[in-house]
């Protein structure tokens, strides 16, 4: 029964060739976390409902908890760690999630970011309805979603160079400045502990980031728990 033995798979994770020794029952999620050490991707429900484990496989958003690890062979996988540049510069989506308060406990954030990334890659200027459809499979129990939709819209505007005073409500005041690349964009706002940990995938338990565990070390996506 050689098929039950573990097998070495080779794939590209965030641009780097990687390999992992996986069993037939392993999911891509487990291969990323336990095999490659990329722990930014979270397991929420483990049943394809919550989207916390969302990663991109060849550019499309998938639930990595339901993606057989053996099917990752030869594919290109992008995780939340792949959003941040090597020098620690956050992706516009990560920045906007912080600025718009789209991160609270942070556990769903890596998945929400990856669904947002897949959306903007396909549709650089989505309307609110299209954002909701694209992120319907990313459950968030904290934010109420409004901030997430606003953050994606702001990031889309920034990335397409059409950033304007987008945010309509009070909480968007600081974020408006951030969306245009000025105030607050580099220092990271009062919630930066949670938010930075959230957008870089460094939260490993819901609410964990709120203890302030998120530091600049978390920019690299290192696990904090």
């Amino acid at each position: 029964m050689t098929g039950m033995d573990k097998k070495n798979i080779h794939f590209v994770a965030n641009g780097d060739p990687v390999s992992a020794l996986v069993g037939p029952e392993w999911t891509l999620l487990r291969a990323l976390r336990d095999g490659v050490g990329l722990t930014g991707t979270k397991e929420g429900c483990g049943a394809g409902e919550c989207g916390a484990c969302t990663v991109l496989v060849d550019g499309t958003a998938v639930n990595s908890c339901l993606f057989p690890a053996l099917e990752a062979e030869g594919r290109s996988v992008t995780t939340v760690e792949g959003l941040t540049q090597a020098d620690g510069t956050l992706h516009p989506l990560q920045r906007a999630f912080i600025d718009y308060g789209a991160v609270q406990c942070g556990f769903c954030t890596p998945g929400a970011l990856m669904s947002s990334k897949a959306l903007l890659d396909q549709n650089p200027d989505p309307n609110a309805h299209q954002i909701k459809v694209a992120l319907a499979g990313n459950l968030c129990r904290c934010t109420g979603y409004t901030q997430i939709v606003e953050a994606v819209q702001a990031a889309a505007a920034e990335m397409s160079g059409t950033a304007t005073a987008a945010a309509g409500n009070g909480s968007g005041a600081a974020a408006t400045g951030a969306a245009t690349g000025t105030a607050g964009a580099t220092t990271g706002a009062p919630t930066s502990g949670t938010s930075l940990a959230g957008v870089t995938g460094a939260v490993d338990q819901p609410g964990h980031g709120a203890t302030g565990a998120g530091t600049h070390a978390s920019l690299s996506g290192e696990v904090t728990a």
């Binding site: 998938v62 057989p68 309805h129 909701k132």
Partner: protein, 348 residues
């Protein structure tokens, strides 16, 4: 989760051979959005998983012509590909709507139309939509290919006429002809990531007088142990002028003939009532009434009372009324079992 062998054939014939050889101990897996949930939870304990992902050429959407005609859907085509297909939205709107309303984008990106059909859930969105178009299944078995009308494929929840070792290769959808209008309405408690409480599809093809019904189909999800067509109701429409009254009468027949039941997702009486409500609404939203010169009802066609659910989102389909797109808040609430097309033992 117990260990199992992971087999990854690269040809359809090879997969059929693996499945034939292993019998009941093996399970074929396409997108894995349903089966992997059952395997991970231990509900299914196969000795071998035969992955169909390594088989090339089964994931294409092949229109007959650029400007219409029939459609061939490879069994491994993910729902998202149908959702994104402008051609499908233009020529088979109900099919595009059915695929777009299933699961989440993540699930639709990997969950396949063939998997949704073979999983045989009573709520299978793509299957219920495909019933409208008299689709034929092309099945590969150890002895070669055979064809079976989709309407004859389902036996019960999770049960089909697939024989041991057989695999679905493709779905052939014939040209429905000109003057065809279709709409699929998935009725759900929330508007995203939800199994259908029940669903209604309609397809009306008019004669060139744009008045007389040439052919009609009414398909129902979760109104019987399998996706079904309300054939007696369809027959009342054919050969007669399309009128609002005729459609309402047909809807009543469809409701009476349905085999709805109580389940935790909805009560039988409510499902029956919603057949009566949604059949006319679907015809309205298909554009058939407008094409036949029938004026919309007062207050818009979409919402004659009752909870409106536009589960399909309908980015490309002909819609009329039914709330603004922004209203169709897609975000989910509490989760419901079954990652995508749904689990078979749920509703029937």
């Amino acid at each position: 989760m117990a260990g199992f062998e992971y087999v990854r054939p690269t040809t359809l014939e090879g997969a059929v051979a693996e499945l034939s050889m292993r019998g009941d101990t093996a399970v074929a897996v396409a997108g894995a959005t349903d089966l992997w949930v059952n395997i991970r939870s231990g509900k299914m304990k196969p000795e071998a998983v035969v992955s169909l992902r390594g088989i090339a050429g089964l994931g294409a959407l092949t229109p007959e012509r650029e400007d219409g005609g029939g459609l061939t859907i490879g069994a491994m085509t993910p729902h998202g590909k149908v959702e994104d297909s402008a051609w499908t939205a233009a020529h088979f709107p109900a099919l595009q709507q059915g695929c777009a309303g299933l699961g989440s984008r993540q699930v639709r990106n990997v969950g396949t139309v063939g998997g949704n059909i073979c999983n045989a859930a009573p709520c299978a969105d793509s299957a219920t939509a495909l019933m409208l178009f008299d689709a034929t299944l092309v099945i590969q078995g150890p002895g070669g290919l055979r064809e079976l009308p989709l309407g004859e494929f389902f036996v019960g929840p999770g049960m089909t006429r697939l024989l041991k070792g057989e695999l679905l290769k493709e779905i052939r959808v014939p040209d429905p002809g000109r003057n065809t209008f279709s709409r699929y309405i998935k009725h759900t408690r929330r508007r995203g990531v939800e199994l259908a409480m029940m669903s209604v599809g309609v397809r009306v093809t008019l004669e060139d007088d744009m008045r007389t019904v040439k052919t009609a189909r009414i398909s129902l999800g979760v109104c019987a142990p399998t996706p079904t067509c309300a054939t007696r109701a369809e027959d009342t429409l054919v050969g007669r002028p399309l009128t609002r009254e005729a459609v309402e009468a047909a809807a009543l027949v469809a409701a009476e003939d349905s085999k709805v039941r109580d389940s935790w997702r909805g009560r039988a009486w409510y499902r029956r009532e919603m057949i009566r409500v949604l059949v006319p609404r679907a015809v309205e939203q298909s554009g058939a009434f407008a094409a036949a010169g029938i004026a919309p009802t007062m207050g818009g066609s979409g919402a004659p009372g009752g909870a409106v659910s536009r589960g399909a989102g309908a980015p490309g389909g002909a819609t009329a009324g039914g709330g603004s797109p922004d209203d169709a808040g897609a975000f989910g609430g509490a989760t419901a079992g079954g990652g995508s097309g749904g689990v078979a033992e749920g509703d029937a």
